[in-house]
């Protein structure tokens, strides 16, 4: 148990909240909302959830994830050049690229939601969810040290 354990714990916890939260919304909340709520209520609730999730993302998830992530990389001695090297560097690079893609897709989801394009918004939401599971997959492929 060192300080770095705590940093890594924060990194994992924040990712867990974000990915897990999305999964919970998509797999549990949404189907129930469709069945139990009428269209108007459903829209209001889901919009609220979406807004809250967006706030959580910007205010907590992104700062924590980027802060701890950069700190962990620095601790491990990752450099720009080492990102291109096969093995750890390349897996990390792929994970970062996929993470950037998830962020772009999430931003598109937010924009589409507020501009009233629900189908595109939904497609982007699912894309982001699947790709963030991919980020977790790559994270587990990083050799733990």
């Amino acid at each position: 148990m060192t300080l770095w354990t705590l940093v890594r714990f924060l990194h994992v916890l924040s990712a867990m909240l974000w990915v897990g939260g999305q999964l919970t919304v998509s797999l549990i909340v949404l189907p129930l909302a469709r069945r139990r709520l009428d269209a108007e209520q459903r829209g209001a609730v889901l919009t609220a959830i979406g807004k809250r999730f967006g706030q959580f993302t910007v205010a907590f998830f992104l700062p924590v994830q980027l802060g701890t992530g950069i700190a962990l990389a620095w601790h491990k001695g990752v450099t720009w050049a080492s990102l291109a090297e096969p093995g750890y560097g390349r897996i990390l690079a792929a994970k970062l690229l996929l993470f950037c893609a998830v962020m772009v897709v999430s931003a598109l989801h937010g924009a589409a939601s507020t501009r009233g394009r629900p189908r595109f918004a939904r497609a982007m939401a699912v894309t982001g969810l699947v790709a963030s599971v991919g980020v977790v997959l790559l994270a587990t492929a990083l050799p733990a040290t």
Binding site: Y88, I91, A93, F120
Partner: protein, 862 residues
């Protein structure tokens, strides 16, 4: 036929509900677009991450192109051959199976799972076989139509893929001997590129080309198409079979037939273009692609004709990007530019809109692409090649973006897929791409290793020099990912192969490569695989440090050339030189003919590796000029010009160096690779007995294995004599050429035997003859490589000695000579008159040599 016949796929009326068939094709084309997008991403990523070329080629050809061919060949065959409609469900199932197969091939190879790759290959081959069989079966049921020949072209293409795909399956299975790989690879590439893709494209263009130009098909095409196929099909079959069997001239004959067929099909192509000048993007793109195809077929024919069978795969490698970008890429993009608007439909206005969208900026794009295509195939500076690739990639990205927009626009008034499905698909594609990036290169997290990767990566610069590798030792901790940046700083070719099989391509002078050795779990050796270089010291060691280092032992590579006897090489010591020569042995003809007339001599000398009886009962692998040790004797007069065509028929680099000519060595003495030739022209300005020898490093090894010979330039006043003989003294080193033992013996100057004209004690068994009282002149050249000679004829005295361009003794001098001493690479002659009949031995009077092979006899008769 008019162009409308093919355009029946278009929606004539926007008010009509969309027809499912068209939507189905739009979906099938979306699959093609998806593979194209993957290719573009892989190329972009490959620039910085070094994805293997294999992956790019197969994402494009197997992913995008094969999908397009299966979809469109069926569509065209159905329309043109008036075949019954195929079953929708079956077609969809086939396409699904095809894509599953392609994905399995790609993933199997990328993840290093041969079983998965082979299953994928089998699926792809099976799907295409099924597709071909269905086409033929439906064609039999159909009414005979004017365009029935199209089906036959597609069927031949399908057969080509079944053959080419099977070869590909063998290659990825890793179950065939590595030695077969180059030939199988060459056959695989030819079957698939010229057959599966080439035949399909040609068959399609017979009708697509006039349709794109919006003109009628010229007369007589049907008959010509049948003729051309009758040439192309058997020609290709012959070429592929001959390439796989390593039969060069069979391959050339087959490719000639194929090229003739291509030339034949160009006739209606050009006639159509002359009737109606191309003016649209698809027309110009298709025209450009056909030009590149013709270029590629011609270049391929030349390369196959001039390269030994095992070198074909490497030789045609530069053509692959040209075929990919110039021919296949442009055909695909040109066809899609024409067909997508038709397929997406939506009425004439929508069709025009889609076409305009796809053709945005086409003149600039077309010019840029066709300027870039030759640059990716030719040996241009790296930055230029990278720029060219960037241009091609940009065009691909632009097209995919435009086409995707067109598909999405068209989807606007169609049933769109559910957002959940679309989202899952897009998310999966993104994840798959990231995983591909993550696992590219060796030392993957999925590749099982005894030692866990420790996550560290070490990059080391390695310089290949003249028979050295610097650094000689690289120390890494167990589990470290090792990356070597290898640069060839020598003036000749080298490569680097590591004990775990990772290797660089052959690097020319100044070239570099990044070698991803992978996670190092145990110490291993690295070496240059070029003949003899390893034995000459081009070796490095990767040594594992750290407490968890695995004891070495498993890594001792069985490919070590030195410790196994060459088949046909008798490694018995040279002790018994009194034995009998084998029944097939023929002595090297020592009798020297007078210099031929004329002052210009044209000679062809071919380097080759063969076997020769180098001592009684001892057969040894030797490297030769014109098949014998020593090579042919050239003779002329002072001032004569020799034009030597030097051809390398061997399996490694060779060169030639004539001491008889004075010139800058840079060009004529350069090393040429197997299959290459050079012209070496020199004027013999000075008389002497001159050495010539192989100029390729390590010369000790090349000369020690037999690559030397003599050039005799007569002094101006040379008197005729009764007999003239030439003896080239050399050394015999037994064992596998280039092996550590042989090279060690050479470096220590410890030959197994010495020999006059290539065979130790050869002239004991085939005496040289003369009559008593005859004047005999013996020309001598000491080829070494390590030792000179002291030539003596037992029982005779020399009255003439000519050494290194000057007479030391003339007949009217009062003195005599007993031996001619020559250091390595010196030459001269002696003359003697034998006093009476008898057997006169001739020896190198250094009896370490003389009693160990440098021995022969003169039989002098009355």
């Amino acid at each position: 036929m008019t162009s409308t016949d093919v355009r029946i796929k278009a929606h004539p009326d926007p008010s009509e509900p969309p027809r499912p068939r068209s939507s189905w094709h739009a979906r099938a084309n979306a699959v093609v677009l998806a593979w194209l997008a993957l290719t573009a991403v892989a190329v972009a990523v490959g620039g910085s991450f070094g994805l293997p070329r294999w992956l790019l080629i197969h994402l494009f050809l197997l992913g995008a192109v094969t999908n397009a061919i299966v979809t469109w060949s069926e569509q065209f065959a159905t329309t043109l051959g008036r075949l019954p409609e195929p079953g929708r469900r079956r077609t969809a199932a086939r396409l699904a199976a095809l894509n599953a197969g392609v994905a399995a091939v790609v993933l199997g190879v990328v993840l290093g799972r041969p079983v998965v790759a082979v299953c994928g290959t089998a699926t792809v081959v099976g799907v295409v076989a099924w597709h071909t069989w269905q086409l033929l079966a439906r064609a039999r049921r159909a009414l005979p139509g004017r365009f029935g020949y199209v089906v036959h072209w597609y069927a031949c293409a399908g057969v080509a893929l079944v053959a080419g795909g099977t070869l590909g399956g063998l290659l990825v299975s890793e179950r065939v001997p590595n030695a077969w790989d180059p030939r199988l690879e060459a056959a695989h590439a030819h079957a698939n590129l010229l057959g599966w893709i080439g035949l399909t494209v040609i068959g399609t263009l017979f009708t697509l080309w006039p349709t794109v130009l919006r003109t009628r098909i010229v007369d007589g095409v049907a008959g010509l198409a049948r003729w051309a196929l009758a040439l192309a099909g058997p020609g290709l079959a012959l070429a592929v079979a001959a390439l796989a069997a390593g039969f060069r001239w069979g391959a050339v004959a087959g490719l000639l037939l194929y090229a003739a067929a291509v030339a034949l099909t160009l006739v209606p192509f050009v006639r159509t273009a002359r009737r109606k000048r191309p003016s649209t993007a698809p027309a110009w793109t298709l025209a450009a692609s056909v030009c590149w195809f013709a270029v590629a077929v011609t270049a391929d024919l030349y390369l196959v004709a001039t390269t030994p069978p095992d070198g074909v795969a490497d030789a045609v490698e530069p053509l692959v990007p040209l075929v990919l970008a110039g021919f296949v890429g442009q055909v695909l993009l040109g066809s899609l530019t024409f067909l997508l608007p038709v397929v997406l439909g939506g009425g004439p206005a929508a069709l025009k809109r889609t076409a305009a969208l796809l053709e945005k900026g086409w003149t600039v794009r077309l010019a840029a692409v066709n300027a870039a295509v030759p640059l990716v195939a030719l040996p241009v500076p790296t930055w230029l090649a990278h720029t060219a690739w960037a241009v091609l990639l940009a065009e691909l990205a632009v097209f995919v973006a435009l086409a995707s927009t067109a598909v999405l626009n068209a989807r606007g008034h169609r049933i769109a897929p559910s957002p959940a499905v679309a989202g899952t698909a897009l998310g999966s594609v993104l994840t798959a791409l990231a995983v591909v990036v993550a696992v590219s290169g060796p030392g993957l997290p999925f590749g099982a290793g005894a030692v866990e990767a420790n996550g560290e990566t070490r990059t080391v610069d390695v310089a290949l020099g003249a028979m050295t590798i610097d650094p000689g030792v690289v120390e890494v901790e167990a589990g470290t990912e090792l990356v070597l940046r290898v640069t060839n700083e020598d003036t000749q070719q080298h490569d680097l192969r590591m004990g775990n099989g990772a290797h660089t391509p052959t690097l020319g002078p100044g070239e570099s490569a990044t070698l991803e050795v992978g996670v190092v779990t145990a110490s291993m050796e690295g070496w240059c695989t070029l003949m003899g270089h390893r034995a000459m010291g081009m070796v490095m060691n990767v040594e594992v440090t750290g407490s968890d280092a695995v004891a070495d032992g498993a890594e001792d590579d069985s490919g070590h050339a030195g410790h196994e006897a060459h088949p046909g090489t008798d490694s018995a010591a040279s002790s018994d030189l009194s034995g009998e020569m084998g029944p097939d042995w023929r002595p090297y003809d020592a009798e020297l003919a007078p210099a031929p007339g004329g002052t210009e001599h044209e000679v062809e000398i071919r380097a080759s590796e063969t076997e020769q009886e180098v001592a009684p009962g001892v057969t040894q692998a030797v490297w030769t000029f014109n098949g014998s040790v020593p090579g042919p004797v050239l003779r002329g007069k002072v001032g004569d010009v020799f034009t030597v065509t030097f051809v390398n028929d061997g399996t490694m680099g060779h060169g030639i160096d004539f001491h008889a000519g004075a010139l800058a060595p840079d060009e004529p003495m350069r090393t040429i690779q197997p299959g290459e030739r050079l012209t070496y022209r020199f004027r013999a300005e000075r008389a002497g007995a001159w050495l010539y020898h192989c100029s390729t490093m390590p010369m000790l090894l090349h000369m020690g294995n037999g690559m030397y010979g003599a050039v005799i330039i007569d002094p101006p006043d040379l008197e005729p004599v009764d007999h003239e003989y030439v003896l080239v003294q050399g050394e015999v080193y037994l064992g596998e050429p280039g092996s550590q033992e042989q090279v060690d013996a050479m470096r220590d100057g410890e030959p197994d035997a010495w020999a006059f004209n290539g065979t130790a004690s050869g002239y004991d068994h085939a005496p040289l003859t003369a009559k008593a009282g005859d004047r005999v002149r013996v020309w001598l050249v000491a080829a070494g490589p390590a030792s000179g000679t002291s030539f003596h004829v037992v029982g005779a005295q020399f009255d003439t000695v000519y050494k290194e361009g000057a007479y030391l003794l003339r007949p009217d001098d009062p003195g005599g000579a007993q031996a001619l001493d020559l250091a390595p690479a010196q030459g001269g002659f002696v003359e003697t008159v034998f006093p009476e009949a008898g057997t006169y031995p001739f020896v190198d009077h250094d009896f370490r040599h003389g009693e160990n092979g440098a021995h022969g006899v003169f039989e002098i008769e009355e």
